[in-house]
Symmetry: C2
Subunit: 148 residues, 2 copies
């Protein structure tokens, strides 16, 4: 009610949304150093982390696909996969149908590192446990309505 001005529009809603975003974004910033530390601890550059995230041990990806996903030049994709390969985390295998193409897979150490990275990046910030269970349930329900 007490919100503000005089136009007929739903300006109160936008103001509340803004405060919601401020809190959410602030919390994200607050917890960011922890996520940065995950990559630092694993010795991964942001590019290597992104690459690791795009790959797995079972499904081979072609260089073309990876370049498209990373929205980079084909030669940059070559360079990126080279880095992972030198780290022993990825390998190129021949494409069974097209001998021009390569399929990129994570090696076993690559899969392990990827798992640690994903676990660390997605780890629940302990600050959330400052809320009680009922509050968390409410939050879960509401946040589930947002695109992800």
């Amino acid at each position: 009610m007490a919100d503000d001005s005089d136009d007929g529009t739903d300006s109160g809603k936008a103001a509340v949304a803004e405060q919601v975003w401020r809190s959410m974004f602030g919390f994200l910033m607050h917890t960011r150093p922890r996520r940065d530390a995950v990559l630092a601890h694993l010795g991964l550059t942001p590019t290597e982390a992104k690459a690791l995230d795009s790959l797995d041990g079972e499904t081979g990806r072609t260089m073309k696909e990876l370049a498209a996903e990373w929205t980079c030049d084909a030669s940059t994709a070559t360079w990126t996969v080279d880095r992972l390969e030198r780290l022993g985390m990825a390998e190129r295998r021949p494409h069974p149908q097209d001998r021009r193409a390569r399929l990129v897979f994570l090696t076993e150490p690559g899969v392990t590192t990827r798992e640690e990275m994903v676990r660390g990046m997605n780890a629940t910030p302990p600050e959330l446990l400052g809320l009680d269970t009922e509050e968390l349930h409410t939050l879960r329900t509401l946040l589930a309505k947002l695109p992800h």
Copy 2:
């Protein structure tokens, strides 16, 4: 209730917190391209953006302070401020008490660019308006309990 195992701890709460975090983090990722676009549109590198954020037009900061805030080498701070200065967005002025030191201020164009940047980075994602006003109020109350 129906949650899981057999230890006496409050394991259901952690599971809900995890889902809350998944939604929140997912939404952050979902909205990230928009924030990247703000910097791209203003032609700012991440370092320049960080520097701009640390400065204003009234309060001078010494190089030493800036290096500490950015947790970088003093010479890196010099390099960073140089960039902003070449862009016409910052200027060094002598320190009134200590002639060894400099005070760094934003210029008028720097202040303007900073404002645009802050506005763009903090802009409320329109997806939030998919929730109704009451839901947003609830969200605001709960999120305000988190550190920011």
